[in-house]
């Protein structure tokens, strides 16, 4: 491995891939748990309802709670597939 690296220059290592994947996953999971406990359930229910009408993937629905001043805004994003 060491010799291979010497001749062919640095490729992206598997550790770098691990770090990148973890950073994306964990920032997503942290966002989810910052909201109230019901957000994941709400997201699943909305997904089920939309799925009755359109075929979408699980990650096509996102539910977020943002605080703006003294109010909270529930932001719901549903990405519909192209026809």
């Amino acid at each position: 491995m060491a010799l291979f690296g010497l001749f062919f220059g640095k490729k992206k290592t598997s550790a770098a891939a691990a770090k990148e994947r973890l950073q994306i996953l964990i920032s997503h999971e942290r966002q989810n748990r910052q909201g109230p406990d019901f957000l994941p359930d709400l997201q699943r229910d909305i997904l089920d309802v939309v799925k009755k009408y359109v075929a979408i993937r699980d990650d096509h629905v996102s539910v977020r709670l943002d605080r703006a001043g003294d109010a909270s805004v529930l932001e719901l994003n549903v990405t519909l597939p192209e026809k």
């Binding site: 491995m1 060491a2 010799l3 690296g5 290592t13 598997s14 550790a15 770098a16 691990a18 770090k19 994947r21 973890l22 950073q23 996953l25 964990i26 999971e29 942290r30 748990r33």
Partner: protein
């Protein structure tokens, strides 16, 4: 007031029990009266790692249920006078660990004069684990430099920050990251997350790095906490970690590869 130090990880098999035994022995060696409790009800192992398996008569659950007194269940370590062990039950149900029951035992241990109560958490996020997290003043997050362990550690941090007693009372649990089974050669080759990578991702203060070491199995074979093996890399790394926990500033050891000859480098040697 006793300080509750919970050793936790989410993922199984990363080194919680090894670390609990080492940390408790290290605190006792430093002169603090310490008790280490096995929260892994149904799968006790701390007694074996501490070498007291033949002296367990009563356990944590038998004290909670009132079958035995705390003094009957506490096992005094034969090597360190400041150290006691409270074993987990092998037979009873983990639902026996009630919040009131556990809380009362922790209070009684404090009254008995213990300064540190080290809790060896089971894997997962069920009763035993959540109880140990709930009462934590300090949490030692044991993490292997590997994707699933890091992810699970982050979940545990989430629980500490929202569901622990301290968090619910508006405070904070002191978090410490302990990276175990670290292999500096593989890190250098880009095959393993580095300690900096893990710290970046979890954003918790690093208290120590324990190398992957043959001394750990040797220690568990003989029932001696590895920190008492002063000639071993893992033992020294645990000693440094405990010293840092107690406020000392010590450089990290065993985090860069040992110097090797050019030939063995090219051949990719190492042990």
């Amino acid at each position: 007031m006793a300080t509750v130090v919970t050793v936790t990880s989410g993922k199984g098999g990363v080194g919680k029990t090894t670390s609990s035994a080492a940390i408790a022995a290290g605190l006792a060696q430093a002169g603090h009266r310490t008790v280490v409790i096995d929260f892994d009800v149904g799968l006790r192992n701390l007694d074996l790692i501490m070498g007291v398996e033949r002296r367990v008569v009563f356990d944590f659950v038998s004290v909670i249920s009132g079958e035995a007194t705390l003094n009957q269940a506490l096992i005094q370590d034969k090597r360190l006078e400041n150290l006691s062990i409270l074993a987990a039950s092998q037979t009873k149900d983990k639902d026996a660990l009630t919040e009131a029951g556990v809380g009362q035992i922790l209070d009684e241990l404090a009254e008995l004069g213990f300064e540190y109560i080290v809790c060896d958490s089971p894997a997962g996020i069920e009763r035993g684990a959540t109880m140990a997290l709930h009462f934590a003043d300090h949490a030692v997050i044991v993490t292997n430099p590997e994707v699933s362990s890091v992810r699970d550690s982050d979940r545990i941090l989430g629980i500490l920050q929202s569901k622990s007693k301290r968090a619910k009372e508006g405070g904070k649990v002191h978090e410490h990251l302990l990276i175990t089974r670290y292999d500096p050669v593989r890190v250098e080759n880009g095959e393993m997350l580095s300690k900096e990578d893990v710290c970046d991702i979890l954003a918790v203060k690093l208290i120590g790095v324990i190398p992957e070491s043959k001394a750990v199995l040797r220690a568990s074979n003989t029932g001696v906490p590895v920190i008492l093996d002063k000639d071993s890399d893992a033992g020294l790394a645990y000693s440094d970690s405990v010293a840092r926990f107690l406020g000392e500033d010590r450089p990290m050891q065993f985090v860069i590869p040992r110097k090797q000859g050019l030939l063995s480098r090219i051949l990719g040697g190492g042990d």
